[in-house]
Symmetry: C2
Subunit: 335 residues, 2 copies
């Protein structure tokens, strides 16, 4: 590796001058600057970021923690974060916690050892106490896509109004005339969605029975299994709200495998609006989370913290929207 020294020696000046020349700082004569630039070019000089970071205390690196990039909710977000980071001259360390707080802790420890400039932690990656550690260490930290009231301290965060999301889902199904509703939810991480859903039903005078609440685990397969259980009920629901699209896809598959039609025999509504949802049969009705906005605002907030921008609003809540496709329909038959 060629260093500033090497260039300095070759050109016959000191490392400082070389540094100044390369950085374009004013105080170098045009003549020597040219000689230096030429020499750096020829020797294929590459600044050593490690040394620079050590000297400056800045690494131009950020960490991004999520449960698993294999869950199709995350890739678009990760790409957007990385792209934005890149535009700021940053690169991104990607960390899958695999829903394991201890692994998440380990990742955070390593990230801090690396002196990263900031970190974004997605909800479900780890529990809040683990996630609050970097914050306490003074590391710029943004929580993204957490349940807004799970975050007790006023940690910087960008989240989705999941209570409203649950309410929107319920209201859509109610508007379609459904009375027998069920929900597949990954508790306790998604309690807010459940709450919103229940409260809307309550208001409509149709409180949700306990057996109509099934537990999922963020995978398509768990959605499939939960749906099977719901469909086997004596009085089966006419509509199911799966609190993630990924589970909703499993729900649809289970329904079709049971010889039923979606939406004729069962309406299904998801939450997220992942890419594939628009392209399956039937296209999935869902409560869309603006993923790009989520990523953008989280990254901007993080850079705001890193740059110590004054008067930064530390908490942002993003509103979900209903996307009606063809997996839900009006309930018509006897009831």
């Amino acid at each position: 590796m060629v260093t500033l020294q090497d260039i300095a020696l070759a050109v016959g000046v000191t490392p400082t001058t070389v540094a100044n020349a390369l950085k374009g700082r004013g105080n170098v004569s045009e003549a020597t600057r040219q000689r230096i630039l030429k020499c750096a070019e020829e020797l294929r000089y590459r600044p050593n970021m490690l040394a620079r970071s050590l000297a400056q205390g800045k690494t131009y690196t950020l960490g991004f923690l999520l449960p698993t990039i294999a869950n199709p909710f995350y890739p678009e977000i990760a790409e957007a974060v990385e792209r934005t980071a890149n535009q700021h001259g940053y690169q991104m360390l990607l960390c899958n916690t695999l829903y394991d707080s201890a692994l998440g802790q380990q990742h955070l420890d390593r990230l801090i050892s690396r002196w990263i400039d900031g970190v974004i932690i997605m909800g479900s990656s780890m529990d809040i106490s683990a996630a609050s550690m970097p914050f306490q260490q003074g590391l710029p930290t943004v929580l993204c896509d957490w349940q807004e009231d799970e975050v007790v301290g006023n940690f910087p965060q960008v989240s989705v109004d999941f209570r409203t999301a649950g309410r929107i889902a319920a209201q859509h199904l109610l508007d379609l005339g459904h009375h027998h509703l069920a929900i597949i939810v990954d508790e306790p991480q998604q309690t807010l969605r459940l709450e919103g859903f229940c409260s809307a039903l309550q208001t409509a005078g149709l409180p949700l029975a306990t057996e109509m609440i099934e537990q999922g685990h963020s995978t398509l397969e768990s959605g499939y299994a939960a749906a099977q259980r719901l469909l086997a009920l004596p009085t089966r629901p006419t509509a199911i709200f799966a609190t993630t699209d990924w589970m909703a896809l499993g729900t649809i598959e289970a329904t079709l495998d049971a010889g039923l039609q979606v939406p004729q025999d069962l309406s299904v509504i998801g939450l997220d609006d992942i890419a594939i949802s628009a392209h399956i049969r039937p296209p999935l009705t869902t409560v869309a989370v603006p993923k790009f906005q989520l990523a953008k605002e989280a990254t901007e907030l993080l850079f705001g913290l890193i740059d110590e921008t004054p008067d930064l609003p530390l908490s942002r809540l993003i509103e979900p929207t209903l996307v009606i496709r063809r997996s839900t329909t009006a309930h018509t038959t006897d009831d």
Copy 2:
């Protein structure tokens, strides 16, 4: 940040001794070791990786370049790579090139400036000349999922036998009695798949007509559009090979939107076996790429290079396998 110095001062020894104690090197008395460990604990000492890396010339970091993590082929691979890296004490910088060689170059430059220990570059991320740069710089580099004969030098690589994959797809359709075949392919990156497909048809005495070759661009939408063009042909094909599952999903969607049935009116076969493919209607028949194996072997090869393991086989070719689901069926009608 608390440093070795701080602990040394607190305990009343020198930084060297502290370092030795923490590293468990033999030459520290049990008494002082305990004092040091206790103190480090209390002061919440965290080693500064930057300083260590600068001193050792090793960063415990690797780079992973891919076109875009938003393409559902990559997340599982990325997760497997990161997980393996993690087990070796490494973390992973994720870089989306967005199919742009210049952006890929920039990423590589930055990675090299960071003194990363190694890099894995996925096919389609950038052109081979850009990808060969880190290799020439002496950086341990593994190409993953490239067209095997695109890689002229003997760069370390782990790839899929795409020619065979194309052949398998053709043979499956031929075995089902199809005579009117078409292919949707993203050239020139996927030429090998096309070649394999064509050669099998040639052998069967059914050479592929030019109009039966449609260009896609790695997106579901491009598969949709390409399929539309094929279905509008005077004699439309009875079976389509889409060279990625993602495009195959678009193909199925276009077919259904055209009022046709899959597989009754059109058989569709993909390549990749992404997670969703098993769960759509109809479940997609595809030539499966062992993604986990791909990731594992690429990462192992990379660590082999980093550790300078002797007698390392530098090139590995992975065989794809046929997964028959329900998007293909025998061709029965008049022909």
